[in-house]
Symmetry: C2
Subunit: 337 residues, 2 copies
């Protein structure tokens, strides 16, 4: 492994000069600097991030907290795509990413400890139980953080606009003549609460009163659970004309159940998803759903974090809301006709 000393020896200069040349410092003869840089390149010099970190306290490493609760973490397209964009944007900005976990190597570290252990410059927190004391400790620590889809006081966050998303869906459904709208919610998180609240509010604005029978507790990404909820909804004396699902994936469980009962989508019952996964456009019928802009969310979160890291003085806690868009597919019947 070639190090600064090697270059210095070869050039007959001091390591200080080499370091300066490598960083383009101005107090060095441009010719010398140029020369040094050439030699360095020739020798295949690569700086040692860890050694530098020790001096500068900057790792150029971003921690990503991404807990795989339902063991579907990365298989949930919303998160996979978000992670991908976090990774891409980080790389562009000169950072690598490290997954923060409980790291079983050393006798179990907390998230905060793991972050310290790896000296990450900051952490992006997504898809975790935000009530977890460990998460709270991390957020309240000196380490800069940006949370996704959850807001901590005085901390930066990026949230997908669930309020607007649900409202857009309801508005669309009403426009299509639906007033008996059933809502299957996901796991009890703040995102879910926002969606539920937005649902009630949007319905109220349209003068629709929501029957409790139409509100079902479901789970994200679990088709079976949506299937059960669907069965219950279909067995009501007064059926809904449309069912809103927690996400596109779990919606498929509903589809299975609906078809099992010999019903046709959307003729007998309309359905709506959430997320806008790629597959929602590939399968037939194309799913009517709200497309979350997961890529933009990842980019925003990364930029905000890097800003926080690189300008600790001037950067302030920001809250960004990222809008998505309604995808009109073929799963909602127009009742006006």
């Amino acid at each position: 492994m070639v190090k600064i000393k090697d270059i210095a020896d070869k050039c007959g200069l001091s390591i200080a000069s080499v370091s300066k040349a490598l960083h383009g410092k101005s107090d060095l003869n441009p010719k010398t600097a140029e020369y040094i840089r050439n030699v360095a390149k020739e020798m295949g010099y690569v700086p040692n991030a860890s050694a530098r970190l020790l001096k500068t306290n900057r790792s150029y490493n971003i921690g990503v907290l991404f807990v795989d609760e339902t063991s579907s973490g990365l298989e949930h397209e919303y998160f996979a795509s978000m992670l991908n964009s976090i990774k891409d944007e980080s790389e562009k900005l000169g950072y690598d990413i490290t997954f923060i976990s409980h790291h079983f190597g050393m006798n179990q570290l907390t998230f905060y400890e793991h972050a310290k252990y790896r000296n990450v410059d900051g952490v992006i927190i997504a898809s975790v139980d935000f009530k977890d004391p460990e998460v709270i400790k991390l957020v309240e620590s000196e380490i800069p953080t940006v949370t996704i889809d959850y807001v901590f006081n005085d901390r930066s966050s990026v949230i997908s606009d669930n309020i607007q998303g649900v409202r857009d869906i309801v508005d669309y459904l009403v426009k299509m003549g639906h007033r008996k709208i059933a809502f299957i919610s996901g796991d009890d998180t703040s995102v879910t609460q926002k969606r539920i609240t937005s649902f009630y509010r949007a319905c109220a604005e349209h003068g629709i009163e929501v029957s409790d029978d139409f509100m079902k507790k479901g789970r994200y990404h679990l088709p079976q659970v949506s299937g059960v909820a669907t069965r219950e909804l279909l067995s009501l004396r007064e059926r809904p004309t449309v069912i809103m699902y927690p996400d596109d994936y779990s919606l498929l469980g509903g589809v299975t159940e609906i078809e099992k009962q010999g019903l046709k989508i959307p003729d007998d019952i309309s359905i709506v998803g959430y997320d806008g996964i790629k597959l929602s456009r590939l399968i037939r019928p194309v799913i009517t759903t709200y497309v979350q802009n997961s890529i933009e969310i990842g980019i925003q979160a990364t930029r905000m974090l890097v800003d926080l890291i690189e300008h600790p003085k001037t950067a302030i806690a920001e809250r960004v809301s990222v809008k998505g868009g309604l995808q009109i597919g073929q799963t909602v019947k127009d009742l006006n006709q």
Copy 2:
């Protein structure tokens, strides 16, 4: 940040003793050691991976090379799931993972340079262009590597058994009475070549001679491309009775085309996928496909790499082949009836 020195001061001992206690070295009074460890815990001590690395040359960090060629890297379930298992297994073994990339921060590093920069102990290489000189340089370097789905001479590798996979599919199709089998291949990689070879061989064994018209070049994960190939196949004077697709996802492009032509699956035409993504089981009809064991592949690769890292003397280049299994869905018609 509490460091060893702080603990030493508090205990009135030397940093050497503290270090020893923390590592459970035997040449220290057990009581003293115990005491030190308690103080360390109390003070919330977390070791500094970078400082340690500088001394030991071990980062407990595994590089993952995962190039997002089709920009679908993580959205390709086969890879997402594999990455997930690499991550999980690494954590269990006490390693973190770092994505190896061109790291735009410093004036563009090569993969090898990035690996050195981050001092990774080893690299798992998956989903890249294995002909890329940069990849070859990395593989031929002193850094331990394990490749997935590609074999380098004298290097460890884990491969999904594509030979067997295709053979199993063909055997099944023949059993179902099919002899006019069309094959849409994926991007030109060694995996694809294996599958094609296996396809020809399996057909030959069943006395089927494959018409060139039935062999189409397609792309992985691009439904549109499969759609086009499907159209061509359907327009043949002598149509195949079944079409094999590069993967489950791209198969959906075929489905779209087939339905557009007013044909029914599997009554008018049978189809088979590859991968066995979760969705293949959720949509109707359930896709007949070969389920790759991506989780096992990730686990094996990680274990092999760690073995290589921790036992450089005794570990030897190994080649592991991971079997999958046929998923019999509802997309292949039984022609025997």
